[in-house]
Point group: C2
Chain length 147, copies 2
């Protein structure tokens, strides 16, 4: 059983569309406007900081982040991958893994900065159509590891 | 010799006040307004993405990030640690390791979001005065590992 804290949104709910789940972590697709390929690796236990994890678990967590990153790169050829573990609002360890494109509304700023241009729904849709294949590959790769 | 690309600011310059350097990576203190304890782990070779590194180097890189995070936590008791590898502007692998405080100008938003309150120079100064001891500890811990 994962360590849970009542009232934590990442203990109470998946936090997005569930793509992969193991005993220690899950991968979700986040429905974040303007960013069609925004995934999160969420640690099952409610811990606030990455360094709260023992070294083996930190490595395991980052291996999952690496798989997600590599699948985004292989399928979508993004301009850049953005990785972040912030958790100021929801202090339950989760890694943002975001494919960035030079046409997205904030590029080259972080996704949390002000918009620089309108969103491009057509290009977003073209990315969204590739997620099924991408996630199939991602799950296959994650399933071969002992998360 | 590290792989360098002419014109890259992180190939040409340290990118901040140098705290630790090894053959594979360095740790710098970044002079970022409003955030007195903002460090970066910069990979020596010019690679864009974290997953460009071989698995052993990824692990090494994250071990350095973990040491920086743990030192910030131990010495400053921040409200939260923020970790990020973005690189949209400077696509040379670097990890931001930032101590966040509930009184800082953007908390609980990411440091890249709009300010929510004025900066607090007195509290920032109190943090700045602890960096010498923090960095001494950090360097000692980094020096015992084979980076």
């Amino acid at each position: 059983m994962a360590l849970r804290v009542a009232g934590c949104p990442l203990c109470d709910e998946p936090g997005g569309r569930l793509v992969f789940q193991s005993a220690k972590l899950r991968v979700i697709h986040a429905a974040e406007a303007d960013f069609p390929a925004f995934y999160r690796v969420v640690w099952a236990d409610h811990v606030a900081e990455w360094s709260d994890l023992a070294p083996d678990d930190r490595a395991l967590c980052m291996e999952a982040v690496a798989v997600v990153e590599q699948c985004l790169r292989a399928h979508l050829s993004p301009a850049k991958i953005n990785l972040a573990a912030l958790g100021n609002m929801v202090p339950h360890l989760h890694w943002h893994v975001i494919a960035r494109f030079d046409w997205d509304s904030r590029f080259p700023s972080p996704v949390w900065a002000a918009a620089q241009r309108p969103a491009d729904p057509q290009r977003e849709q073209a990315i969204a159509q590739q997620l099924l294949g991408l996630e199939r590959d991602m799950v296959q790769q994650l399933a071969t590891r002992s998360f």
